[in-house]
């Protein structure tokens, strides 16, 4: 079995000279959830951006479905994303056009993937809208009028409408209040299992990670300092920084 996404010795150096991440390798297989934790600025989001092909690595390579796609851009990247990668960002405005309706946001991704039949696109977008437990009467309403939890559901609908094998989650619930967070996590967990999605989740909330992730990567200063099974790292961290992270959060 091939990993859906693989990063091999990825280093990102921003034009400012700052390193986003250094020598990061990871892979995620169908049906499993890989968590990435670490403090702000540790490189978590850079790694996710590489996986989503937003950033091309300065060194190293990115593979999607076993194919080296390092540095692809333009139409090829758009097609690849639509076919293989769905992403949910922490803030909805990163992933959605808030002035466009929920249905319009979701449909846009389908048009981007090459679908042309309006009827088909609308029907498919509507079915995702329903699957994400969004109220039907909101389908033609602009996202600006949505609550935080509903906006994240629209992002999920958009991410999944083209049935990609991979789902990338960048702090998907951290802007939400506790009850909405729990509801959203339930939904993510359910769809991840139902569709056997290869999932990467970046979060600083270890409770979220504990609930979702099978395997875990701990990052600090752009590097991976520890990797392993989630329950092992959270229960018996080996690296000094992992120990600090776990003891800080569970104390």
């Amino acid at each position: 079995m091939k990993p859906v996404i693989a990063l091999r010795d990825v280093t990102v150096r921003y034009p400012s000279g700052v390193f986003g991440c250094r020598e990061v390798s990871l892979d995620v297989y169908p049906g499993e959830v890989l968590g990435i934790v670490g403090e702000s600025g540790s490189g978590k989001s850079t790694v996710l951006a590489c996986a989503n092909l937003d950033i091309a690595p300065t060194l190293g390579s990115v593979e999607v479905m076993g194919v080296d796609v390092t540095g692809v851009g333009g139409a090829e990247r758009r097609a690849l994303r639509a076919k293989s990668l769905g992403i949910v960002y922490q803030t909805p405005q990163q992933g959605l056009d808030l002035d466009v309706t929920a249905g319009g946001n979701v449909a846009e991704r389908m048009f981007g993937a090459g679908h042309r039949s309006y009827q088909h696109v609308r029907a498919r977008a509507l079915s995702l809208h329903e699957a994400m437990e969004l109220p039907l009467e909101r389908f033609d309403v602009v996202v600006k009028a949505f609550s935080g939890g509903m906006r994240q559901r629209v992002q999920l609908a958009k991410a999944l409408v083209t049935s990609p094998p991979a789902l990338l989650l960048d702090e998907p619930t951290s802007g939400l209040d506790v009850s909405v967070q729990a509801k959203t996590l339930d939904l993510i967990r359910r769809i991840q299992r139902e569709h056997g999605l290869a999932t990467v989740i970046v979060s600083h909330d270890l409770a979220v990670i504990r609930m979702l992730a099978d395997r875990l990567i701990v990052m600090k200063g752009g590097r991976i300092v520890e990797r392993g099974l989630t329950d092992q790292i959270l229960g018996d961290p080996q690296d000094p920084y992992s120990q600090l992270l776990v003891s800080s959060q569970l104390a």
Partner: protein
């Protein structure tokens, strides 16, 4: 018969980097073999390393050296050499672990949690009843459960998944007398089907035929 689980010269140290790198020897040279279909009870003072041993076998704790080999249906897995995905696969197929603490998704009701393991509704309800959880709790998420009720659910979730090896860490500690007996009977049922069990407990189950062997741990060593 070949053991389903063989632990050899297992050593484990905790290094506390936040406390001057202080080291704690928790397991020293542990040798342990479990014959198929047997129930081994592990006792010993608090802090003697019982739970650490279970966690090392399950690989939810890291090991310094030694070996842990699982042998089921002609399949042999070296748990310390195996990569993370192989360990997860081995757990899914062969090893169940129940701890004192329930860790589940907060909003899902007890019955639905048991059904998530793959049981149909009637079987899940039968199992919860057999463990002793009252029916009024079936549709309630465990967040509001008492310690004993959580423990019943933990045990039910562990038994719902059919695994040839079960690691049980004080799974009956907060149950009342009657429910303890119910829990032991449920374990006995599994034993009859050939399940091999390693259980940490401070008390010896008073159900005839359940416990085959009692081992005592002292200060990281198995007596």
């Amino acid at each position: 018969m070949k053991p389903v689980l063989a632990v050899h010269k297992l050593r484990k140290t905790y290094t506390r980097h936040l406390f001057d790198g202080r080291k704690l020897d928790v397991l020293r040279n542990i040798d342990l073999e479990l014959e198929p279909g047997t129930f081994t009870l592990l006792t010993g003072p608090s802090g003697s390393g019982k739970s650490s041993l279970l966690r090392c076998i399950y690989r939810s704790a890291a090991v310094d050296s030694g070996s842990i080999v699982v042998r089921v249906n002609g399949d042999e897995v070296d748990m310390l050499a195996a990569d993370d995905r192989t360990v997860l696969e081995t757990r899914r197929k062969y090893i169940g672990m129940a701890t004192q603490f329930l860790s589940v998704v907060p909003r899902i009701g007890a019955l639905d949690l048991v059904m998530e393991t793959g049981l149909v509704r009637d079987d899940a309800a039968d199992l919860l009843r057999a463990i002793g959880l009252s029916e009024g709790h079936f549709d309630v998420p465990p967040a509001t459960f008492s310690g004993g009720e959580r423990q019943m659910l933990t045990l039910a979730l562990t038994l719902a998944r059919v695994r040839p090896i079960l690691l049980l860490d004080e799974v009956t500690a907060s149950l009342d007398r009657r429910r303890k007996k119910t829990a032991y009977e449920a374990l006995m049922e599994r034993k009859k089907t050939g399940v091999t069990m390693l259980a940490v407990s401070h008390e010896i189950p008073d159900l005839p035929g359940l416990v085959d062997r009692v081992l005592t741990m002292h200060d990281g060593e198995l007596g």
